[in-house]
Symmetry: C2
Subunit: 462 residues, 2 copies
């Protein structure tokens, strides 16, 4: 039995899978001002039209351009690995496989969409992309993609991360990007926030506002904004993960997995692995598909399904999603990539349908799982990834109790080499767990009453 | 044409290659007190006897134990990649291949020997290993190996790195090792240095002295010392790199490479890739084999071949090598792994023979090459690795000028994600180059006059 299942370049998928073609009930449309569905034209100042077309497409398969494949080949196909040493340690009859997305140069799954986004902007004649980044995974992925495709890139990095993670900033600079602390004096939004709270640590909400403003106010019209998760086209680009995994599981002698697991912040790494398998579940296959979130930021497990803005400053259209409210400020857990108030509408529609069963864990349990991983498999995982691993260990132990030979597949979304401070807190006993008090949840979601309701539409098949 | 050539576990080499069996003239023996050749018994308090046997072996092939293979499989076989985008950028007819050793959990080639060293100590009944580390690559690799094999590990880390690189220290702690700043108050040597210079930044020489002392003074006799380069058995373990590369080049449709390149600090990553190819050169194949060093620490290109100690405090036996003198303190270049005064005796004997032609570069040129690499291949390399890349680019440009379709192979010894401060210095124009003034070279090598001369023995075939 081989521990790694590799594909050749020539076996890499040439098309992305669009789950919008197969969901039994389509997700609710995004709404613009006045509660009317957003038209492609309304998004044109923010995104190039070719990406907007992908955003609204219901075509099942979408070709991956050759120039995009040419860059993805730098680290793809990624290996499918079997966690043999973890299995032995847990004495589980389960076979645990993971798709290793940590092997990309920026260290996570993020470049899977950064590269096509940079590419589509480039062919649309755009010269410059702006974006925001919290922990830095997304900012460095977009910097990497822009460097390889010859675009300029400006990243608004939440000030507290900018100050605490100088190495992330440096990665972006090595890839030629300009990385500035947000709030900055470069935008109206930034200046306003700086005036109101001069020593603010910043937030993802503010950084998004600045990045969008910087894009739409460029007088040359050659700048656009890029988002690293949540939107349909972003999730689409990530499906290459699950499509590869399917071929690899087959090559490893397995049929479909019994359980598919991914951590979920905005939803892109979870969707990337699980959507191609969800197609099988829609067609009748029996499978548990589990998105995992932090208990400190429990939108999928505790928040209402409602229309809400994607950013704090209410600049984005309204999306139908599980949301803690756009004004919600998640506690300072170490998994920065999971600190987002909402969830991708396509993932939410899957939850509404009953296709996905979300689960939440405290970060101390996740770090315990990460330590077990380091001790057995040897690698140091990202704090986000540790949430998936906590669920994997729970399911593998359950399989042992049940004496069942389950196949568990999860997305190893990134390594933790740039995010070791959480391990430090864990090892020195300084790690805190957070629970969202019910009254706080009510406070933040009360705002939603002023926004349109999202009707729960489901086929009732799950 | 595929960019990656992968091997299956079942194709991984099952034996290491020992070049001592094939060198036309054997290297000079290490000398102990009184200038007499060291006997295995004299090394027994420092290393376990099974590793000492490897150190003195002249057997060509040495079996890799199953338990070692079982751990190496966690990241091996490593991919052989072709740097297509760099080739295109340089418009070179050369085909550039690299062995990607950055994919190991600690991020470099170092665990290739850390794992077997921990294993042989374990089967010899040893419970605890001590070592020193400068930049931290070796310390984290040994911590990783000890964690997976269930040994305790104590790492003496040069104080200045300990303070400047908290993340390296954290990596070791995640893998269960104890990492302490050197000089420490735990050893006589450390206490003496601390008393003499209370605010000393420490040095590799002091840290080696402390690690050896901590091993040999353990009253239980269950502690040994472990070294990450220089010695024969360390280089032996690294030959798995070149043995894999040979199979992969063949699978990629190539014959032998025309040029083999590796950076060289103590010599282990260079030897690991090049020794299996050196065997072909000894047997008549035409090949240039180039170890690359920093101009700031030019032992191979400018220093005498002489007997010298491996450490500053003269605790180690005398080794016949190119050496800048054991008291030499290399300038603070960012490639910490190349800041060593000597070179592995087996590599030195190859240089004496004319099999290897060393080359030296300034670090600014190396960082320029690293930036070209990041821009084309997308990955951020270690400062050590950038020395190999500088040479690769020089040779690829030469191939273009000559219009020759050469095959260049190099060792991508590690990623630079934990060592980004050198990039910061380069990008902000604060990077200095260092040349060793002739008078300083003379000053440090004058000490060698009190030590036995090393006779240059060569076959004259190259």
């Amino acid at each position: 039995m081989e521990r790694k299942t590799q594909l050749r370049e020539s076996d890499m998928p040439r098309q992305w899978y669009n789950i919008a073609a197969d969901l039994p009930t389509p997700p609710l449309p995004p709404l613009g001002p006045g509660g009317k569905p957003v038209t492609p034209d309304m998004l044109a100042p923010v995104f190039p039209m070719n990406l907007i077309e992908q955003e609204v497409s219901t075509q099942r398969w979408i070709d991956i351009p050759e120039e995009v494949l040419d860059i993805l080949y730098q680290w793809r196909p990624t290996p499918l690995r079997r966690a043999v040493r973890l299995e032995q340690y847990l004495k589980t009859p389960a076979r645990i496989y993971y798709k290793d997305e940590s092997v990309s140069p920026p260290g996570s799954h993020k470049p899977n969409t950064a590269v096509p986004q940079a590419y589509y902007n480039k062919v649309f004649g755009i010269k410059r992309l702006t974006t925001e980044t919290g922990a830095g995974q997304w900012g460095s992925a977009l910097a990497f993609a822009c460097q390889l495709l010859g675009l300029e890139c400006k990243v608004f990095m939440v000030r507290i991360s900018f100050d605490q993670k100088p190495f992330r900033k440096l990665m972006m600079q090595v890839w030629g990007a300009k990385c500035i602390a947000s709030p900055s004096s470069e935008t109206n939004a930034g200046r306003r926030f700086l005036k109101e709270i001069p020593d603010t640590p910043g937030s993802l909400g503010i950084a998004i506002s600045e990045a969008i403003e910087a894009a739409v106010t460029d007088p040359t019209g050659q700048t656009r904004y890029s988002l690293g998760s949540v939107l349909n086209h972003v999730l689409l680009h990530q499906t290459i993960i699950g499509l590869e995994a399917k071929k690899q599981l087959k090559a490893a002698g397995e049929k479909l997995p019994d359980i598919v697991i991914g951590c979920a912040g905005g939803g892109s790494n979870f969707a990337g692995l699980s959507f191609p398998f969800t197609a099988d579940k829609i067609n009748g296959a029996k499978m548990e598909i589990i998105p995992v979130e932090p208990a400190a930021c429990p939108k999928m497990t505790r928040a209402p399904f409602h229309y809400d803005h994607g950013d704090t400053a209410c600049m984005t259209p309204l999306l139908a999603m599980y949301t803690l409210g756009h004004a919600f400020v998640p506690p300072p857990i170490h998994a920065g990539g999971l600190r987002y108030h909402g969830m991708a509408p396509l993932v939410c529609q899957g939850i509404v349908e009953g296709l996905f069963k979300p689960r939440a864990y405290h970060q101390s349990r996740c770090y315990e799982s990460a330590m077990t991983w380091a001790k057995t498999e040897g690698a140091i995982c990202a704090p986000e990834t540790s949430h998936a691993i906590a669920c994997v260990i729970e399911e593998a132990e359950k399989a042992r109790q049940e004496g069942k030979e389950k196949v568990i597949l999860f997305n190893y979304s990134g390594h933790g080499l740039m995010d070791l401070s959480g391990y430090d807190a864990f090892l020195s006993g300084r790690l805190s767990d957070y629970d969202l008090p019910e009254e706080e949840l009510k406070k933040y979601t009360k705002d939603l009453e002023n926004l349109p309701k999202a009707e729960m539409r489901k086929s009732g098949r799950w």
